[in-house]
């Protein structure tokens, strides 16, 4: 059984310039070896229960982990997720660190594992999700569909003009102006029943008109 895709992570190495200086008494010129020694000392103390050393260590390695993750992920959310996964793993397996050995390779090996996991997770979600990009937004937005709406409206108004006057008034009042049956009856002097019949016939006629137009085009 081979470790398969696990191998992908092994091109990661401890790159000195990739690690930005941290807020804890780090100057940019400090040699990576010295910094790694600090991390080793912090971790040794953290294993003994020194919380302040542990806090220094985690805050110190975070920018470095972020730089490793940024080489594999573009999305800042993915980068931060990976950094947090690495920090959690470091926490769980901190007893496996041997202070006699360098800290860098230990940390990078753990980071590699979580980067590979993150890449796999990303691959899985990409296989079943479609990202919304700018084109989808443009086509779905109402502003993008104004021309179509306007032309549809014109065609409908023209069709209504062709209806007999009683049906035309009924559709205008009840459908376009959205009046209630009572209001329309009061405004037109027609009975509610007559309005209903007129609307029903008007919609039937409109359907016929559009069917004819659709057949022509």
């Amino acid at each position: 059984m081979s470790s398969g895709p696990h191998d992908r992570g092994h091109d990661l190495t401890l790159v000195a310039e990739a690690a930005p200086s941290s807020t804890h008494s780090r100057s940019g010129q400090e040699r990576p070896a010295a910094r790694e020694l600090d991390w080793s000392v912090y971790m040794a103390r953290a294993q003994g229960g020194d919380r302040e050393a542990y806090r220094c260590l985690l805050e110190d390695v975070t920018p470095y982990l972020r730089s490793i993750a940024a080489r594999h992920f573009q999305n800042s959310g993915d980068i931060e997720d990976t950094v947090q996964e690495v920090l959690l793993t470091v926490h769980v397996v901190r007893h496996t660190y041997d202070p006699a050995r360098p800290f860098g390779p230990w940390l990078v090996a753990i980071a590699n594992r979580r980067v590979v996991d993150g890449l796999r997770r990303q691959g899985r979600s990409r296989a079943r999700e479609v990202a919304l990009d700018i084109e989808h937004e443009t086509f779905a937005a109402s502003q993008a569909n104004l021309a179509e709406t306007a032309s549809d409206g014109r065609v409908l108004r023209d069709a209504i003009e062709q209806l007999p006057s009683g049906q035309r008034d009924a559709v205008r009042m009840l459908k376009l102006q959205e009046m209630s049956l009572k209001e329309a009856a009061a405004a037109s002097g027609m009975s509610v029943a007559a309005l209903k019949v007129a609307t029903h016939r008007a919609l039937k006629n409109l359907r016929k008109i559009f069917a004819r137009q659709g057949g022509k085009t």
Partner: protein, 217 residues
Amino acid sequence: MITTPDLIESLVAGAKPVRRLRPPAARAALWLLFAAAIVSLLAVSHGLRPDLAERLREPAFVIGIAASLLTGVLAAAASFVVSLPDRSRLWQLLPLPALAVWVSTIGYGCLTGWVEIGPDGVRLGEVAECIATLTLTSVPLSLAMLVMLRYAALLQPARVATMGGLTVSATAATALSLLHSLDATVMVLVLNFGVAALFVGLASVFGNKIFSLVAPR
């Protein structure tokens, strides 16, 4: 989602002193001691195979049993080394030479087994006892290894599980050669894959469990 500084705070707040792992060689020796104890107990309760003294004069048998024993010892050492995040993957190759010798003698044993046992030589009782011996050796040894290597679930589960499976298989095969007259090669091979699959399965389950216990997300 929790922010990284908040995560660091919660990890620091939950940081208790941890006991560092002993060197991998010492841990492998501890496990092998346990394995020796199990096999000795089985030898006492079941008794060695009746023809052991006679078989030990055969070079093929001696080479086979020595190779399986050596495979077990080397694979145990390799398991404990590769389970650490910062050790080279090349340690996986350590048991390969002994494994090659063992596998070549398995082929021979299989052949002679057929010839020696013949069509009516194998009784059901012997096979059942063989399975019992395999179970009695491999289950406690697998569990011990699983507990000792549980942190590897977060690091390189497949690699460590494969090594662990090989270790347990080789040890069980050695016990089997000492205790039973039957050449149960096929069973040993099935066990080899079975234990590795079990390890991979349990490792992935354990990995998630440990993570959800620790991770405040």
